[in-house]
């Protein structure tokens, strides 16, 4: 395993990711900080759509939202594309509203890429990619889902992040 990585230990196996500090410095620093704070431990992948993406990083298994830090700027104009195995920040309709929630693309989602600096065209900021553990991601994308309250595409059985480990290479970031 490479040494400059973050590992999400899920109940479907390990997902090892590499942050792109060069192209997405703010999103990467933001994600790393949530990892350091242990924020993601106990959160679930609460929105899973095969052929699209798996989303997590902000909800607990009772579908309550974990209190996150404030929103960050959208770095979707950095040239990185929403391709299979990339991680991007989830957000509300406001382009600059991402906090802790992210998603892993399980398809090449061209329509999520940045096209213009307006609410319609801002797109979703890619900041990392999966370097190991796509088999776990592929298992997660296929879990059965249903609706829970106002939420759709919620896995019937929890897909949890049980722990996050950070390699030493990120110590000075």
């Amino acid at each position: 395993m490479a040494d400059n990585m973050i590992t999400l230990h899920t109940n479907y196996g390990e997902i090892v990711i590499e942050l792109d500090f060069d192209k997405a410095p703010m999103s990467s620093a933001n994600f790393l900080q949530y990892c350091r704070d242990g924020f993601y431990t106990g959160t679930i992948f609460h929105r899973v759509i095969d052929g699209f993406m798996v989303q997590g990083g902000g909800m607990l298994s009772d579908m309550s939202e974990k209190e996150s830090r404030g929103p960050i700027e959208n770095e979707a104009d950095n040239g990185l594309k929403n391709e299979i195995g990339t991680l991007a920040m989830a957000r509300t309709q406001d382009p600059h509203s991402a906090s802790s929630q992210f998603f892993i693309n399980v398809a090449d989602n061209v329509f999520l890429n940045h096209t213009d600096k307006n609410p319609q065209g801002w797109g979703y900021a890619v900041f990392a990619k999966v370097v190991e553990g796509m088999d776990a991601v592929n298992e997660i994308k296929e879990v059965p889902t249903g609706s829970a309250g106002p939420h759709q595409d919620v896995p019937d059985n929890d897909v949890t992040i049980d722990a996050v480990t950070i390699s030493e290479a990120y110590a000075d970031r």
């Binding site: 993406m53 902000g58 509300t92």
Partner: protein
């Protein structure tokens, strides 16, 4: 104007608290106007459509867009009515003319199929909140409102923003029951207006409450009367609320999903 043959007699909404910081709620409102309100004979907005309103001359993009959307709805034949909320009580004649809406006084009655429906924003029902009721009596004086309206935009905007922060701060310190309606005040309103149904917002506690009115002053035929208080909910980025009135005078209270949080 063709107001016949629409399947819904009237729709009621309140407490959208529209503001630029919550674009999902604003978008849901525009969708609601396009897709639902257009099928109604009338739309009643029972206050707090806006989080803050410091003047009909507000040039900001969101209020202008809302005014344009309401105007389009009224031009397409939907009768539009507005009751002031505690956040947007400064809405005035210019807004009314620009949108084509009729401003109603708080406690407006609709008679339908032998039933009387009473519409209010709901802040006057919270009579346990004595400090607010005092403030309300002063700030709603027409002369004071006219004077405030003459202040420069910048100052009015400032006052509105400070007032909003202060109200939030003081509400955090108020007991739960103070923020809800007073049961006796509610009954008084029912008796005073001989109403069968009351629809209001303000409290952000959506629900339906059956009430037995007993005769104290001989105002009620027979000894008791069953009435119902229907409370609209506030709109959040997750959920919106509306009430629907049918020709038969039945009222349904519904919620719908707005935007389930953060997404790609």
């Amino acid at each position: 104007m063709n107001t016949t043959n629409r399947p819904i007699k009237a729709l009621f909404i309140s407490d959208l608290h529209l503001r630029p910081e919550q674009p999902a709620v604003a978008e849901a409102f525009f969708d609601f106007l396009d897709q639902q309100a257009i099928h109604a004979e009338a739309l009643y907005i029972l206050g707090d459509l806006f989080e803050a309103w410091w003047g009909d001359d507000n040039p900001d993009p969101l209020p202008r867009r809302i005014i344009a959307a309401l105007k389009q709805l009224s031009q397409r034949g939907v009768a539009l009515y507005f009751i002031h909320g505690n956040r947007d009580f400064t809405i005035g004649k210019r807004f009314s003319e620009e949108t084509g809406c009729t401003l109603l006084s708080d406690a407006h009655q609709i008679d339908i199929n032998g039933k009387r429906i009473l519409l209010m924003h709901g802040d006057t029902l919270c009579s346990d909140d004595i400090s607010y009721q005092k403030y309300r009596r002063i700030i709603r004086k027409p002369l004071l409102l006219r004077l405030l309206g003459k202040l420069p935009q910048k100052i009015r905007r400032n006052i509105a923003e400070k007032g909003r922060a202060k109200s939030q701060q003081s509400n955090n310190n108020k007991a739960e029951y103070i923020m809800d309606v007073n049961a006796e005040t509610v009954k008084q309103q029912f008796v005073e207006h001989s109403a069968d149904i009351m629809i209001h917002g303000h409290t952000h506690r959506p629900g339906r409450h059956a009430i037995e009115l007993s005769d104290t002053k001989g105002n009620i035929k027979g000894n008791t009367k069953s009435v119902e208080r229907i409370v609209l909910g506030d709109w959040t980025e997750q959920q919106g609320w509306l009430a629907t009135l049918t020709d038969a005078g039945d009222v349904a209270l519904e919620s719908f999903v707005i935007h389930p949080g953060e997404q790609p």
